[in-house]
């Protein structure tokens, strides 16, 4: 029984480690802290198996646990006052994946635009467009209601659109000519 549960946790650990590690690194750069927080999260699940019973989407549940542990860590080191939010979320754009020819310019512009977003906007973009979590799951993880998630994302996209569309338009005109 305990052995089954242990194996289940080990599988989850393996399956979600990359996701969790990468998410954690966006909040805090110290890899060791991220690893420790991931482990503490799983360890808490080990000590209390009931926690997993009603979980529907395991991925977003694990992300939520990690998020809280990292916030706790940051707060205990006195770097922030509250536990509710962090003040950084660092994402950078994968330039090799942008599917047009003027890769470098676009990715630079986009990177600049992204760096102007708030940490929360960045986090939502990340969870939605990279991790593919639903608005509902993001709502739970970030303690932000559905409409706010949508609004934050909308604002973020508006900020980014200028840069992305400038490029796209430029590219289209070029094609027409």
């Amino acid at each position: 029984m305990a052995e089954d549960y242990k194996n289940k946790l080990l599988i989850l650990y393996r399956d979600h480690y990359r996701t969790l590690f990468n998410y954690g690194l966006k909040i805090i750069k110290d890899k060791e802290v991220v690893r420790d927080c991931i482990q503490d999260g799983f360890y808490n699940l080990w000590t209390d198996p009931s926690k997993l019973e009603n979980v529907v989407v395991i991925k977003s549940y694990l992300i939520g646990i990690l998020r809280n542990l990292i916030l706790k860590h940051i707060a205990s080191n006195g770097k922030t006052d509250g536990l509710k939010d962090f003040n950084t979320f660092e994402i950078s754009i994968e330039d090799t994946l942008i599917d047009n020819e003027n890769k470098e310019a676009t990715s630079q512009q986009l990177q600049r635009a992204i760096s102007n977003l708030t940490p929360k906007q960045k986090e939502i973009i990340y969870l939605r467009f990279y991790e593919g979590l639903s608005y509902e799951e993001i709502e739970k993880i970030t303690n932000t209601n559905y409409q706010s998630v949508r609004n934050l994302l909308s604002k973020a996209i508006k900020n980014l659109r200028k840069y992305i569309l400038n490029f796209i338009l430029f590219f289209q005109i070029f094609l027409i000519l």
Binding site: L10, R18, D36, L110
Partner: protein, 334 residues
């Protein structure tokens, strides 16, 4: 133009559309949509580009790292089982995990950190005693991860497992503590004459039975109590307990913390104190014969120097000749 913009936006924010672009879901639905709205095809394509361009760079994680982390986790689980009941790990398991043992030492820390549920019964908690002979120092890591550097001629006692409500250790002698923060369990150092209570912080305590006791704070905050009175210390301050009264004053860094970095410090020390420090530091004995130790003072410091170099330096100021034979040094004052 205005409406085409908002269509673009609607599309980008639409979950079903996002899933279509990212995961190729709802494919027919969106292909139908664009077929029925040929005038919106541009917006449709632009919205796709926007979503596609938001690819985020990820840190590559090698399989070996995941293996390593999982091994650590298994170790931690095993360890927690053991603390409840006797559970013998098969030898092969131990051998196969030898690489992870060092890391395990680090993670034992966290086990008791986060598990208030199964406190180990008090009777099972062994006390660990670490003792340094004269002339030697010792680096110790406590079960909660707190680092202690024990100076020469000192004794530290601590439980192999800390309880859930406090982390209590006993010290006779001098030690530097770098305490891991744990708000729910204060760290308490008891010495024969005083008690120091901390949350997470670094400081030294010097409390040999015969001498005055000192607690010096590097960072954080601590409360020192002795004989019913209390003193709260700020970083840079020390409290000196002498004749049952406490005095707070700034300290000399090299004097209080230098020993950790191999700095042997003398500050306005009289000759007797100088020789006592050497005794402790190098683990040697001095033979003064029938001579009285002169009343001379000495200031200076030596970093990682051997005894002979230090004696050579001291002999000019304190005016003596010396003869080293094994662990005893014969001193002849001029």
């Amino acid at each position: 133009m205005e409406s085409s913009k908002s269509i673009l936006e609607e599309l980008v924010l639409n979950e079903s559309f996002q899933d279509y672009v990212m995961h190729n879901k709802n494919k027919t639905e969106w292909q139908d949509w664009v077929a029925q709205n040929p005038d919106k095809k541009d917006q449709f394509e632009n919205a796709k580009s926007i979503i596609r361009s938001l690819r985020i760079k990820e840190q590559a994680v090698p399989e070996s790292e995941i293996d390593n982390e999982i091994t650590k986790f298994e170790q931690r689980i095993e360890y927690s089982k053991q603390s409840g009941s006797v559970n013998v790990l098969p030898l092969w398991k131990i051998l196969s995990r030898i690489a992870a043992i060092l890391i395990l030492v680090g993670s034992i820390t966290l086990i008791y950190y986060n598990v208030p549920k199964e406190p180990p019964p008090v009777s099972q908690v062994d006390m660990v005693t670490k003792e340094t002979p004269l002339g030697a120092k010792l680096q110790i890591k406590l079960p909660d991860g707190t680092k202690v550097k024990l100076n020469a001629g000192s004794v530290l006692k601590y439980p192999s497992v800390f309880s859930n409500d406090s982390r209590a250790v006993e010290l006779v002698g001098e030690a530097f503590f770098e305490v891991v923060t744990d708000r729910s369990r204060p760290f308490i150092v008891s010495t024969p004459y005083l008690q120091t209570r901390v949350l997470g912080t670094s400081f030294t305590i010097k409390s040999f039975t015969s001498e005055i006791s000192k607690v010096s704070l590097m960072e954080g905050s601590i409360r020192v109590s002795a004989d019913g009175s209390d003193q709260l210390l700020e970083p840079g301050e020390q409290v000196i307990l002498k004749n049952k009264s406490m005095v707070v004053q700034p300290y000399d860094y090299n004097e209080e913390f230098g020993w950790r970095d191999g700095i042997l410090n003398f500050k306005d020390d009289n000759a007797e104190k100088v020789f006592n420090k050497l005794k402790l530091w190098y683990g040697v004995d001095f033979d003064f014969g029938e001579q009285k130790i002169p009343v001379l003072k000495y200031s200076g410091y030596y970093k990682n120097e051997d005894l002979e170099t230090v004696l050579e330096g001291l002999s000019y100021s304190l005016k003596f000749d010396y003869e080293i034979s094994d662990r005893t040094i014969k001193i002849m004052f001029n």
